[in-house]
Subunit: 339 residues, 2 copies
DNA sequence: GTGAAAGCGCTAACAC
DNA sequence: GTGTTAGCGCTTTCAC
């Protein structure tokens, strides 16, 4: 383990001063060919690579951004992380990954890390209702972009999916297949994603003359999915199609349905939201509203870079979603469609 | 955006020198209560946090480790990343996440980053057969621990699952349910994971007097899963139970089975490896050999920390796997068990 | 127990 | 074009 070569070493080898080499490396200079060649040769010979910490210390920034997600081992956030890493890498930015476990204290901790320039900027995804502390902390630091789920009252660039359209598409699909008695199983009532997915769904149903007989809000967990489906079955046997606001909730719902031998598609049509899990391989394959995760990542990184570049405004970007038709909603025949 | 306070500011506020405050903060000193109190007060008042880059530059290390995985949006690696982040965080280490897309050039790139002290150490997971370049690069830097899949010929701490036992468990399970004509669908033949899972499976089958009629090696991809199952169905209709070496392969296999209306469990029993995807929610739920991802992460971080602490040896850690019985293998009745 | 001073490797004025 | 110089914020001898 020998000590790595420094800029100084390269400069000496090339018969130049460190400053010149530094400028050359940072592109702020066009050198005469032979000087440049000498530097290149020295770098090559010494296998020099700049020390990122010295660089960061000196420049006051690190070319590193952070991504904070509730849990990385959730298919949606895993995909988001992969996509953000790709985008960041393409932009010459390194990525630090943080997971908050959806806990406020950890979120604040990482926000503090940003404030202390550990990273130049932060892409922030949360999943719980904020009591205001988060909003306050985010307001402290610029260079935060909020993604996927809103933090109420925060002025920051934001990147979301078009949840309303997603709800609408789900309703349209079920209605087109003859379903008239619908239900919604969603996340926390206080969360933007939940509200928007629901409102798109409800409004489209109303427009088409179908009814949303029930809506179950709760945490984005397996358990809530399980229980909501239990209640749905018991309290609203007339419902033939349900829109489920996330993959996680779907898994819970599927468990309940299997336990009670109610058939997905035939007994109860299902459309879910996210499409991050391997839904195509389920039996039956699950119809879903797909979020454009790559797009979310691209726009989030873009927004962050603009922020880092000094742009002061707080654009809100909405990414289109897409209905991926699989087999979890059957066409309802005329007989049974009579409520 | 005001400039954050420095150690100097704290020292001034406390009426001390930066050196003293630094030592106090680094625990290399027990100060008289009132001095300590003054420092604490100053820190509190200024909301001081140390600049990590200055710290790293000065100390020559960063308390940051890297995790390199082929793709973070693969359920297994997503879980690994989550678990490693948790372990690292508990050890006071930050985590940089890299994904290689399973490409050698990117793997080498990140290894180089390690060599340059961008991170203190690297937990390295690869998924393809090495031609020797990787092994060479890893040999260059100490402070690499290899996890999940071996890189042949490398002297480094290694953490793997007990793949042989996994194969054995899979065989035992199917045999106990009356299956005698077995098959294996695996990853690349040159990879340790593939070889070990196969050998455990084959040996146990032989021991129990069952036969492994076919083994299909190939990349760990959906496509290979699909095709292997096609061939299995065509070339070995006598097979009643298959052991599939990863979730990814499983998904491909399931697709083929559904397309051809061959029933999982009844027509062909399936046991898979990893158990990282939501297999419990499939229909039928898929029986699997579960890797102890949390254990892999824990041991990998532990091994890396020992390495960072100066321990020179290269232990190989094997983590036990577990059979999770679900419903993808039916008991074979006596009639059909007659090959 | 505490301070002064040097230095980690780099960048950024400022000179020439 | 290129060199000199002065930091960036921290840790760490070496003194006292």
């Amino acid at each position: 383990m020998v000590k790595p070569p420094s800029l100084q070493d390269v400069a000496t080898a090339a018969g130049l001063s460190p400053a010149t080499v530094s400028r050359y490396l940072n592109g702020s200079l066009s050198l005469p060919p032979d000087t440049a060649a000498r530097i290149d040769a020295a770098i090559e010979a010494l296998k020099y690579q700049p020390n990122p910490y010295a660089r960061s210390l000196s420049r006051g920034r690190s070319d590193t951004i952070g991504l904070l997600v509730p849990e990385i081992d959730n298919p949606f956030f895993a995909r988001l992380a992969a996509a953000v890493e790709r985008e960041a890498d393409a932009a010459g930015l390194a990525l630090m990954l943080y997971s908050s476990l959806n806990r406020k204290d950890r979120e604040l901790h990482y926000l503090e890390r940003l404030r202390r320039n550990f990273v130049d900027g932060l892409i922030f995804a949360t999943n719980h209702v904020d009591d205001g502390d988060l909003a306050a902390a985010i307001a402290q630091s610029s260079n935060v972009v909020v993604v996927d789920e809103d933090v109420a009252g925060v002025a920051a660039p934001k990147v979301f999916s078009d949840n309303v359209a997603g709800g609408r598409l789900a309703a349209e699909h079920m209605i087109a297949l003859g379903h008239r008695r619908l239900a919604f199983i969603g996340g926390p009532e206080g969360l933007m994603s939940s509200q928007e997915r629901f409102s798109g769904f409800r409004d489209e149903a109303k427009r088409a003359g179908a009814g949303v007989e029930a809506a179950f809000f709760g945490p984005y967990t397996l358990d809530h999915g399980r229980e909501a489906l239990c209640r749905l079955l018991k309290e609203h046997p007339e419902v033939t199609g349900a829109f489920i606001a996330s993959d996680e909730l779907l898994f819970g719902a599927l468990e309940t349905m299997r336990n009670r031998s109610v058939s997905v598609g035939r007994d109860l049509g299902l459309v879910t939201f996210d499409d991050a899990g391997p839904l195509a391989f389920f039996d039956p394959p699950i119809t879903a509203i797909r979020q454009d995760v790559g797009g979310l990542a691209r726009e989030a990184v873009r927004a962050l870079r603009e922020r880092l570049g000094g742009t002061p405004d707080n654009p809100v970007c909405r990414l289109p979603v897409e209905l991926v038709v699989r087999k979890s909603v059957h066409a309802l025949n005329a007989a049974s469609s009579t409520g």
